[in-house]
Symmetry: C2
Subunit: 416 residues, 2 copies
């Protein structure tokens, strides 16, 4: 994989060219790219058809792979939205004058070269480029073999757009769709500043366990909502329905309802909207008894141990009954993947205890966990949701694609 290393070296060098590019030119280039995607739609769809031809229609990846006119228009639209975001670099994050007169500025700068490893979805190629480029970064993209024609078509359009702005094609390097290329990327210490895996847990585990370069882990959400003794039942019902059924395949979807024993009698009311959507419930003995006769028999199962700490990603949910807040916190501490956790309660002290104690990227009181999303949090866009604590936690917007440097101005200062 010497050619991959050689190409990454060129991408590293090209990334320096971006430092000198004024933010308004970046916006212009992104808008030009969006126009170019619109204009090249026929070519992109033709390339996509080649990928689709090799993918069985009943494979779940078929839909992820599929591009059509509305999806292409949405991709171009997202690029225009990113173009409109303010540049996250060149900002003085901190300024101070030391007692000795040295002037310090902590200034936001691009990360440099961002590596992203992803699977079937070709739109990621454009999304990732747009966000990284807006933050002044070059990108090394490793897409799935099954999307290679589509990815190459997108990268061709990006390269052509960059050329019209006098920018080097090496700013965007699409690696060959080979496992050895992934290995080379993960070991490119000094050439790639960060790697973000986007895809299945198996992909994320592979990247984390094999990378020599820094990684930001995104991934699984094992999500709880605790209905406290003091909960408002109406709010709880709406929140449970929304968190469980708004989109079952996303990482912020509800997996386990934790309920205070004093509110077991409310369970039929709380779960009524779930029955209407055929949500299968794995209930502990208390919850099962409370729901029995009030929830469709076919959808009401006894919970096994493995139904707690399980990310369902489907119309399924488990229920755990607890004696008190402490037991709820203990259950969540044991099973949470530290993504999104919620409490429904009216008692202010209980809410504060929960919000302080729960260790997760996003902790909610009286709101649906479905809000864990960069767009919803007002970041304008999102490159992923970090489940680690280093660098970025939770939804990652443009700021997560920056670092900083210390600029120090003196007048012949020496250290004594």
């Amino acid at each position: 994989m010497q050619d991959v290393i050689a190409s990454l070296e060129k991408t590293r060098t090209a990334s320096h060219a971006l430092a000198a590019l004024p933010p308004h030119r970046v916006a212009e280039a992104l808008n030009a790219l969006a126009d170019h995607i619109d204009a090249a739609a026929a070519d992109i769809l033709a390339a996509n058809a080649l990928d689709l031809a090799d993918m069985p229609k009943d494979d779940p990846r078929h839909d992820r792979l599929l591009l059509d006119a509305p999806r292409l228009a949405a991709i171009a639209g997202d690029v225009r939205k990113v173009a409109a975001l303010p540049a996250p670099t060149g900002i003085a994050l901190e300024q101070k004058t030391l007692p000795n007169g040295l002037k310090l500025e902590k200034r936001s700068v691009p990360l440099g070269v961002v590596g992203v490893i992803y699977e079937s979805r070709p739109n990621v190629t454009v999304d990732v480029f747009a966000l990284c480029f807006r933050a002044g970064n070059a990108v090394a993209l490793k897409g799935g073999k099954e999307a290679d024609h589509s990815n190459r078509a997108f990268v061709k359009v990006i390269h052509e757009t960059l050329a019209t702005f006098g920018l080097p094609a090496e700013l965007v390097y699409l690696l060959p769709p080979l496992r050895e290329a992934t290995t080379a990327l993960l070991q490119a210490v000094g050439l790639v500043d960060i790697c973000i895996p986007r895809g299945s847990q198996a992909l994320i585990d592979h990247v984390r366990d094999n990378a020599h370069i820094p990684v930001i882990e995104t991934g699984a959400g094992i999500v709880h909502t605790y209905v406290d003794e003091s909960a408002d039942a109406e709010k709880a019902k709406k929140i449970i329905e929304n968190a469980k059924t708004r989109r079952v395949s996303v990482c912020n979807a509800l997996d386990t309802l934790v309920i205070h024993r004093a509110r077991l009698a409310d369970l039929p009311f709380l779960c009524a909207p779930l029955a209407a959507q055929n949500v299968e419930i794995f209930a502990d003995p208390y919850a099962r008894k409370a729901l029995s006769g009030h929830y469709p028999d076919a959808l009401l199962k006894a919970a096994r141990d493995e139904d707690f700490g399980r990310e369902f990603l489907s119309y399924k949910m488990s229920i755990r009954t607890v004696e008190n807040l402490a037991e709820a916190l203990a259950h969540i501490a044991q099973y949470s993947s530290r993504h999104s956790e919620a409490i429904v309660a009216e008692d202010a002290a209980t809410i504060d205890t929960f919000l302080n104690a729960v260790d997760a990227a996003a902790v909610y009181a009286n709101a649906s966990t479905a809000f864990t999303d960069g767009g919803q949090f007002g970041m304008g866009a999102e490159i992923g949701i970090s489940t680690q604590k280093l660098h970025a936690r939770g939804p990652m917007g443009l700021q997560a694609l920056t670092s900083y440097k210390w600029i120090v101005r003196g007048d012949g200062h020496i250290r004594l």
Copy 2:
């Protein structure tokens, strides 16, 4: 290494206890620890004597390992300084109300469990604990085998102090001084939130290449100072002397002087203080010619290729002559380890170009690179100097030992 994993699990659990500890209690515990170190001096020195007995006096590690009454007093004093620093956690970093009424707060929180792998210096045991504890973190410490008696003596004192505050001993876990323990620590995904290696480049490389948990790289500084055509010679002379000779063994010490060709005639003047301190110079042909007859012959060598991009950590320095600023920037981009870089110049436009273009943790104009240090930057203390761009760059103070979480308060909010 099942026992290491089991202990790390206990440390993870114990870390939750810290979340509830008010900041003033942390400060009290640290002050008590400092007193306890003073009181236990005889025991600690006795343990240290056992380590020293196995270490040859001519081994450079002997001095790093050595504790004596003044050094112990300094260690206790540093703990008191950390106690006096404000807690970096529980701070609202950002607050906003979304258009839908959801209230968001981005609040600083501890990382959780911080792993530190280090070598001969037993003082690191106390330094790291104090900083991590001030930021609300539990620690997993893996010290060198050669310092094990000393490390265990310090950890005993820490455990006894924690006990008097009702805090679990598991907050500080000293791993056995075995390579397998390092491996277990580096693979403790979900138990240890971050690993900071402190020591030789070989140690750092091993940690980076084998860790499955997030790592912050600290390490080598290949440091340049560029003397521009517009430089003030007096300032340049002082800065070069300070950056090179203040302490030659540190990572921010000057390695390569880059000089504009128009200022070659100033080289004898600029280097005069170095001759007085027997600094060996590896000069390119232009610089060598300029210094010849003005610098002790025995100390003036022809630079080989490998003398550029070399971290000397001793009384040695290379000199490279350049035609202009662009050539200086290219040299630095090629050889810099992105730690600390400086320009000496009076021309404002040249200074700005340099400060913008150079990619390093700290970039200086008219000041010595010796200032790259958490204490000097006003951080109060330093856990290390990061040479990566993720999470923290340059000197890392208490803030680098924190993460954040999003606290979201609603009133029955659901996402449409």
